[in-house]
Amino acid sequence: MPFSLLKYGLNSDFPYEKHADLPAPSALKSHYDVVIIGGGGHGVATAYYLAKYHGITNVAVLEKGYLGGGNTARNTAVIRSNYLTPEGVKFYTESVKLFKELSNEFDFNIMYSQRGQLTLAHTDAAIRGFRQRVEINKHFGGQSELIDAQQIRELVPSLNMNPADMPVLAGLWHTDGATARHDAVAWGYAKGATSRGVELHQLTEVTDVEVRQGKVTAVQTNRGKISCGAVVQAVSGHSSILAAKAGFKLPITTYPLQAMVTLPVKPFLDPMVSSPSLHCYVQQTSRGELVFGGGSDPYPLYSTRSTMDLKEGLLANAVELFPAIAQMRLMRQWGGLTDMTSDYSPVMGLSPVDNYYLDAGWGTWGFKATPICGKTMAQLVADNGKVPALIKPFSMERFYRFAQVNEMGATAASH
């Protein structure tokens, strides 16, 4: 709990702060040491760690819309580390550790709520996969265990144990599973970064990237040209489009991912429940709404429109899991863009252009990686391109070396 909350708790006045969270917009300078493209969670987190831990404050975060208004606002805010590959588990376990301390670090409540995440196995093959994940998780410091049907019944009494005639045989119970307020994560980082001198420029779109002799020298924006020492691209959902401006292709295909939320009801569902076989995950937010998410759309698209057929398929399975919710009303629906890689791992680190660093390939696993991405990307920039060990396996070069990191645990619902 952030200590400022305690102060508010003992105060009879409405808790407000004397200063606005973010400084007023300012003019663009002609040069920054580091330009971060993308003012979502990852971008502002990178700026925050650069300023706080590396003392690099001549930094501009350029955002074409508004702070945290892209895919940071469109995910379903699941935090977990129960992945399959050692590389993935190590990376996301660090992220969960940072998330747990984030409210204190910011002195700003990100509403971190550790509920645990339950993934259901309906087949023997799934149980075998879960066993492997449990062992790898435990080995690298994550909290996961395999539980049986009786334990699942006790944990989630409202769950139908035979959804769509696919009996629930066992579950992967991940006690580290959590959720947090995604806006608060973005704002917490942005506040921490700007108070240390970083400039956040919203409504500032990068229209071109200038590369001289294989090295990035400047970015062109709708507000003028900025020369820069280094660039970090953190624009997931549009990674390929920005990379094309810098002159290279990425191993990414962009698909929409749709999600939806019901009217709020009283709390009845504590853990987050997902079923890879039914392509569906369900969680109840702290406001009482049920959030549903599923697999990505069946074909690539740069549109965040919602479709009826995906909703029908997803909700039919959600109702199979929780028959009692059949009469609930949907309140909102939305779509985000997921930059899918063929091995379900991100693309991080060096790019073919010198001093141009990649934080891309965030398919359906981006929000949960926000803190560790910020930390490792900041370290990468501060060390002038020396790649931190934690993100070495996620380099773009892995595709040329046929050394993919096959992360089958990346998605709670299979794609």
């Binding site: 390929s240 489009i241 094309a244 962009t254 690539p300 740069y302 549109s303 479709t307 040329y400």
Partner: protein
């Protein structure tokens, strides 16, 4: 449901179709470098534009080519691959070649 115009079967529900990737020139796998091959397999244009793609009508196992706008979710044209490929593409492996 969204409808897609299959050159063989006419307008059908989009759920009957499977996306098959961008249409791109295949390098000669017997002479190209590993890097070129990796580029061909894993790296994509992934642009917001009218793109040319492979599509499969799954119930009839029929592959065709579609031109689609990836921002507007709209097919401009679909056609039989014979419009683009007039000769047979040979996939003979180098191992078989050397054994001859």
């Amino acid at each position: 449901m969204k409808m897609i115009n299959c050159p063989l079967n006419g307008l059908r529900n989009s759920s009957e179709f499977v996306y098959g990737g961008e249409v791109k020139d295949m390098p000669d796998h017997r002479s190209c470098s590993d890097r070129e091959w990796a580029e061909y397999i894993f790296f994509h244009e992934n642009a917001v534009a009218v793109v040319t793609e492979w599509w499969l009508h799954a119930p009839s196992s029929y592959w065709f080519i579609g031109e689609r706008h990836t921002g507007r979710d709209e097919f401009l044209r679909t056609y039989d691959p014979s419009e683009r490929f007039s000769t047979r593409v040979e996939f003979a492996s180098s191992v078989v070649e050397s054994e001859k």
